[in-house]
């Protein structure tokens, strides 16, 4: 039988259990992994979008605050009475004019020095009078601002402030600076007409810095659109105007929400939009989605490690539990298999868990116990049967022998051999007693030899000149026990089949000696011996040699082996003309156990 204790074949309960649990676990883990990742993705994305929206709003607010500042400056300048007077008064002397100019210039200088993001402040009247900046740079006579877009816009207005898009300001000689211009027309206080233009230039770098300062990942950027949807600021405006890159300007202008997503050749991008009521400009943040969830790898890794650890641990636990559940089953199965294999005596299930299998095992135990009980009873019955059979056999004294012996006694009595009659009768009496009177199956070798000696004595008196005998038993085995009436049949055999056919005198020698834990008895005759064929068949039942009383070699052998086991018993050695030797091997037993007596 193969050892099955570790079997986790797919067909076993344990195997199926393991498979089912692992599959279940794996699917749960993978589902967890995917959902956790998706959930985290969504969360991260959501947070990132929120964050970007706030960021872009902040940029927009910052831009607004610049514009508000410009507005304030334009307000201050336009209300400045000195400026009005300088531009429109017709009653200024040269000196007053000069002084006023200096005063205003100082004023402008202060404004420009305080905020370096203000590039220029200027007022220009239609009458040709003007103040441009702090006077450190000359007016560029070729500037041709009348034809520039921002100027036209300003002139179209009704005195409210106008904010231009980004453009290059060339009004100062030798300087071409990107600016955003806030302009408003000023009234001539003397006639109430709009006769002058005031403008404040904001250094465009202030806005670009604002946008560049905000980091939207490695590749993200911010751009600003003006009211018309023209690019006011874009870090890639060169590329866009050269047609190398495109920007989703139209989508931004059409979109009313806070953000939208676009997929183009650069990948998935998030457009976050903030519109300013103040300026009408639109600030747009562009974030690359793959950067938004840039640490996705990290998250995947963390979740993956958790899943693997949990799975490994769970598989370990599952295999432990499944073994706990299925091991008793296996033990039970193996126990049942041993019952199949008739090793019933050894099967007894202990240490089983106190569950369904435990009670199953108890029932099994009860069953095997009962079977064992039944088998024991059966065996005992058989034994008793054999014993009674034996007793019946033992009880039989060869009637021919009895008749012949009595005949001899009569004959001796008639011839007046009183002494011989006494010996023979005594011997016969001893034999009769040994055969009939014993309740025990076992006798000491001493007793057995006494019986054999009585028998031989009788036979010797009958075959006076033909039979000689000798009994040599080691004194230390005399008290050992032997199954009774096993030696006499052999001796009888030796006489009737060996010596009887000899012309001259025959001899029977019986010896007994200790052989280690065993006792060896020998019955040796000097008779005619046996051929191989006879020797071979000597133990066969039908070859019972003594038709007269039926207690043959077979019976002796059967009784010896029944009692002592297969390894003990009778053995013959013989060859024609060489005599025969019978060996009885029995264990040396000095004590007779109680249960053997019956």
């Amino acid at each position: 039988m193969k050892k099955q204790a570790k079997g986790i074949g797919i067909h076993t309960i344990r195997g199926s259990l393991l498979l089912a649990l692992i599959l279940l676990l794996a699917s749960v883990s993978v589902t967890f992994f995917i959902y956790a990742l998706r959930y985290t993705d969504r969360n991260v994305q959501h947070n990132a979008i929120d964050y970007t929206v706030q960021l872009i709003d902040q940029v927009n607010n910052d831009i607004d605050s610049y514009i508000t500042y410009m507005e304030n400056i334009s307000e201050i300048v336009s209300r400045n009475p000195d400026v009005r007077e300088y531009l429109f008064s017709q009653s200024l002397s040269g000196q007053e004019d000069e002084a006023l100019y200096e005063k205003i210039r100082d004023h402008f200088r202060t404004m420009l020095n305080v905020r370096e993001d203000i590039y220029n402040v200027a007022v220009m009247a239609e009458n040709g009078r003007s103040i441009i900046g702090d006077g450190s740079k000359k007016y560029n006579p070729y500037s041709d601002i009348q034809n520039s877009e921002w100027y036209k816009q300003a002139m179209d207005s009704d005195g409210e402030s106008v904010l231009s898009s980004s453009h290059v300001q060339n009004i100062l000689t030798g300087s071409y600076t990107w600016v955003v211009t806030l302009s408003r027309r000023m009234k001539n206080p003397y006639n109430g007409k709009l006769e002058a233009l005031l403008f404040v230039d904001l250094n465009y770098a202030a806005i670009s810095d604002l946008c560049e300062r905000i980091s939207l990942g490695d590749r993200g950027y911010i751009f600003v659109l003006d009211q018309q949807g023209e690019l006011l600021y874009h870090p890639r405006q060169q590329l866009i105007y050269s047609g190398i890159k495109t920007e989703h300007v139209q989508e931004v202008m059409d979109w009313t929400g806070d953000y939208f997503q676009v997929k183009d050749e650069d990948g998935k991008k998030l457009y976050t939009i903030s519109r300013s009521d103040e300026t009408g400009w639109t600030t747009v943040g562009v974030t690359y989605m793959d950067e938004l969830i840039g640490n996705r790898r990290e998250i995947e890794r963390t979740y993956g490690i958790v899943v693997i650890l949990v799975m490994t641990f769970a598989v370990f636990i599952i295999s432990l539990i499944s073994r706990r559940i299925t091991r008793p089953l296996l033990v039970l199965k193996n126990a049942m298999q041993s019952v199949d294999n008739q090793q019933l005596m050894k099967v007894n299930l202990n240490e089983m868990p106190e569950n369904e299998i435990g009670s199953l095992s108890q029932s099994f135990n009860a069953m095997t116990d009962q079977i064992q009980q039944l088998m024991k009873e059966n065996e005992e019955e058989q034994r008793q049967k054999r014993a009674s059979e034996q007793r019946a056999l033992q009880a039989q004294i060869n009637p021919h022998f009895l008749y012949n012996t009595l005949d001899s006694i009569i004959w001796m009595a008639e011839s007046g051999k009183n002494e011989d009659v006494v010996i023979m009768t005594a011997s016969l009496a001893r034999m009769m007693r040994a055969t009939l009177n014993s309740q025990n199956e076992l006798v000491t070798i001493e007793q057995e030899m006494l019986h054999v000696k009585s028998y031989l004595t009788i036979q010797q008196m009958r075959y006076r000149d033909k039979l000689e005998f000798e009994i040599r038993i080691d004194p230390d085995i005399r008290s050992a026990y032997i199954v009774k009436l096993v030696v006499q049949p052999l001796v009888e055999n030796a006489i009737y089949h060996g010596i009887k056919y000899k012309e001259n005198k025959g001899k029977v020698v019986i010896t007994g000696e200790r052989k280690g834990k065993n006792v060896l008895l020998t019955v040796k005759d000097s008779g005619q011996g046996m051929d191989e064929e006879t020797l071979k068949n000597i133990f066969k039942k039908h070859k019972v040699n003594y038709t007269n009383n039926g207690v043959g070699v077979y019976n002796v052998q059967a009784r010896l082996q029944l009692h002592y086991g297969e390894e003990y018993g009778l053995r013959y050695e013989s060859s024609p003309g060489q005599g025969t030797c019978a060996y009885i091997l029995i264990p040396y037993i000095e004590e007779v156990q109680e249960h053997e007596t019956s």
Partner: protein
């Protein structure tokens, strides 16, 4: 029994494979190394608008395509020995790709061969060498540049035109190509070109040569400069001679001087290169080369024709006055 035993082993194997596979998947980073690009411009000089703009474009490409960009340059545009040393140093730094604007047409060739020998891809930006070593060349299409200018000249051609071209360096590739382009742009009026002068890329020389020319050939009424120095010299001479209304001046490349002359009406038109795009496309190509992508051998960068009337238009002013934000070149690593 035997075939039943295979299944649990298979199962265990599968499970282990799953775990190992998962672990492998999780711990091998799929993020490719950022390509390492070294760019060697002719010079690094923030006061030089052309190179500052080109670098801004280069940096934009490096950021957008996720590359590490290092910039190393010689002290002057003509110092080819130093540039050769820089090339050798760059090779030792084992970049994924080297982009260079060679300072000399001939003297950098030998050193640049070593770049190819060490198996590093090579990109030429703006200028080239006598040996076409580079895997790709990103430069202004000088013929196209000349053609735009030629077409503009033809458009405003005065009656009885006498055209003189002021070249910068005789036989230099840019001068030859630009001249060729002007002739193409002029078409049938090509014959009106009377002379091609060379000022050796010197403002002063261009200035005096123009003055001499106007004395020698006062009938000359169209003057074309082929680079910034030639153009500025010519324009300044015409301004100083007070011939603004008689002579139409056309220039090449933008500078503050050129723009002023354009405003003043001395320059009729100037054709300008696009250094930002050149830098951007150059580094973009370099990165694609480093990533083993197939790229074009030659990437021409378009020029822009600027006239007084369109110089402040929304589109042109952005090209004529490239706005370089503070951070445009801020994160470039200068070695």
């Amino acid at each position: 029994m035997r075939h039943h035993r295979i299944i649990p082993k298979l199962l265990a194997g599968l499970f282990i494979a799953l775990i190992m596979g998962g672990a492998l998947f999780l711990f091998t980073s799929p993020d490719k190394e950022k390509p390492y690009v070294i760019y060697i411009p002719k010079i690094v000089d923030n006061s030089n608008e052309f190179w500052a703009t080109l670098l801004a474009g280069a940096n934009m490409a490096a950021r957008e395509y996720n590359a590490n960009l290092s910039v190393m340059a010689a002290d002057s545009e003509t110092n080819f020995q130093q540039q050769n040393e820089i090339i050798e140093k760059a090779i030792r730094m084992k970049p994924d790709v080297i982009a260079i604007s060679p300072n000399s047409f001939e003297e950098n060739t030998e050193t640049l061969k070593k770049v190819k020998e060490s198996g590093i891809p090579l990109v030429y930006i703006d200028s080239i060498t006598d040996d076409p070593l580079a895997d790709t060349v990103v430069a202004t299409d000088n013929v196209e540049m000349g053609t735009q200018l030629g077409a503009c000249i033809k458009n405003k051609l005065p009656k009885d035109a006498h055209i003189v071209i002021m070249g910068h360096v005789k036989n230099s590739s840019t001068a030859l190509e630009r001249e060729k382009g002007i002739r193409i742009g002029l078409g049938s009026d090509e014959a009106l070109i009377e002379e091609v002068l060379f000022c050796e890329s010197s403002f002063q020389k261009a200035y005096t040569m123009t003055k001499e020319l106007m004395e020698r050939k006062p009938e000359t009424n169209v003057l074309v400069g082929l680079n910034e120095y030639a153009s500025t010299g010519v324009a300044q001479a015409i301004k100083d001679l007070g011939l603004k209304d008689q002579v139409k001046v056309y220039g090449t490349d933008s500078s503050t001087e050129q723009i002023r002359k354009l405003e003043e009406g001395i320059n009729q038109a100037i054709v300008i290169q696009n250094p930002f795009n050149m830098g951007y496309l150059g580094i973009m190509q370099a990165i694609q080369l480093a990533q083993g992508k197939e790229i074009q051998k030659n990437i021409p960068v378009e020029s822009q024709l600027i006239t007084k009337s369109n110089m402040y238009s929304v589109e042109k002013q952005k090209l004529l006055f490239p706005f370089i934000g503070k951070q445009a070149t801020q994160d470039i690593v200068f070695e």
